[in-house]
Amino acid sequence: MSERRVSWALLGPGLLVVVLGAAWLLPELPALGLEASDDGAPAGMGATFDELGPDPLVLVGFDADIGTYAEVRPTVRTVMADLLARDARIAFVSLTVEGRAVALAEQARLERAEANANRLLDLGLIPGAEAGLVDLTKGIRPGENPTAQAFAREVAATGIAAFDAIVVVGGNDLGPRSWIEQVAPRIEPVPIVAITPSVLLPEVLPYVASGQLAALLGTPRDGAAYRATAEVGPLERLVEPGGPRPLPVLIGLLVALGVMGQALVVRLIGATRSLGDRDDA
């Protein structure tokens, strides 16, 4: 590799970070706003929550992936605030250790923001992957929850049937697909909704089309549109202000496309030259 290319290979990523940082500091451009989603995903989530009865119980399967959680984090927080604003009681359960770590961090954040602790129940980590999900449908054993004892007793007595809806925060191995495959066939019908990063979109979109997922927020655009329409009232403090900024995302994507296109063009030029050399020979 020539010295010039080595310099670019070292400086290029650093330059990209600087450019993205500068773009992050610029004021938001209305023309790049992501809120104008028209595919009905945010409305579907809102409609599903609207159909829940008074004082609903919601089970949150929290198995986010640290590598993709940044994409869905503002939306997840708004969904939690939205549910609490609807007087829902929320129980958190995780099936992966990584998901458990993120769930603990989010519950600590809710605690710091003084969310009503009587409405939050921590069901902890269920081991066993798919078998753990099946076990969840047979019975739930809440641990010690000093602040939500009535909620814990109700869940212990009724099991998963106590819940009016299931929200799956996906990203890790056991995401919406696992819940649909292992839980949905074993329980009475309850709406299952999902919040996933874009990378899971090809996997979960068919479940929306078949109706197995009642609603899905699976792209930054869906998330932004949902956050723009959710009415959380006095629980605004639970919501994360802002989200992924469109301008740096756009710049980053253009750079990614440029890098991929450059690689393709270099290969094409090389192939053309070798063909030309062969013709000359």
Partner: protein, 214 residues
């Protein structure tokens, strides 16, 4: 911003540590790999420690030790679980016939649940939804047909080791190219997710750490 840190002294220290480690990881792009290696060790150590803590506090203690201590004869299946765990833990010193048992049980159970769930929860409902589309117009039918054709071609692309005719060989080649196109599209989503992670870290440095963004 991330909001994972509060305002107390411990959280301020946490923010500084997170910021410095983020800078170290970003610095690896500029060629500084030694400190980056230490940050990888730090991550691996923290992850292992957290895994051990969660396994002991949320699985082994409440689901195994406490029930056995409370009623040793009441849950005989738990003793079977203890035997399987012991066999797995002592694998380096036990005969292979014994150590293969816990592995076989784990893999067999996982495969059984995953396969049954895939058939009941995904394959049959998805087939049903693809065949019967309520209110679907010509466009939906066309999409369904295209989906079926693509699925068939990709499946043919996986056929190996059997004599093929010209048509089957061509279909397999098309199927493999369609698979590559699909993986490429998936890579695009992955790029988006990872880009947002990078931006989140930049936002963390500018906002949570330096306070440049409210």
């Amino acid at each position: 911003m991330s909001g994972l840190f509060g305002d107390g002294p411990a959280e301020v220290v946490g923010t500084w540590v997170a910021a410095l480690v983020t800078l170290v990881v970003l610095g690896s792009m500029l060629g500084e790999r030694r400190v980056f290696g230490w940050s990888q060790h730090l991550l691996a150590g923290l992850a292992t420690g957290f895994l051990a803590l969660v396994a002991i506090r949320e699985v082994i203690a409440p689901r195994l030790v406490e029930p056995l201590a409370a009623d040793p004869g009441g849950r005989p299946e738990l003793w079977g679980g203890v035997a399987l765990v012991a066999a797995a833990a002592a694998a380096p010193w036990l005969p292979r016939r014994i150590t293969a048992v816990p592995t076989s049980v784990a893999i067999g159970a996982l495969a059984a649940f995953a396969l049954a769930g895939a058939v009941v929860g995904t394959l049959l409902p998805q087939l049903g939804a693809a065949i019967a589309r309520p209110g679907g117009g010509l466009g939906a039918t066309a999409v369904g047909v295209i989906g079926a054709v693509v699925t068939g071609l990709v499946l043919i692309g996986f056929v190996h080791g059997v004599p093929r005719g010209r048509i089957l060989t061509s279909a397999a080649a098309v199927g493999r190219w369609l698979l590559i196109v699909g993986i490429g599209a998936w890579l695009g989503y992955l790029v988006l997710s990872r880009l947002i992670l990078l931006l989140d870290r930049i936002g963390f440095l500018l906002g949570d750490w330096l306070g440049l963004v409210p």
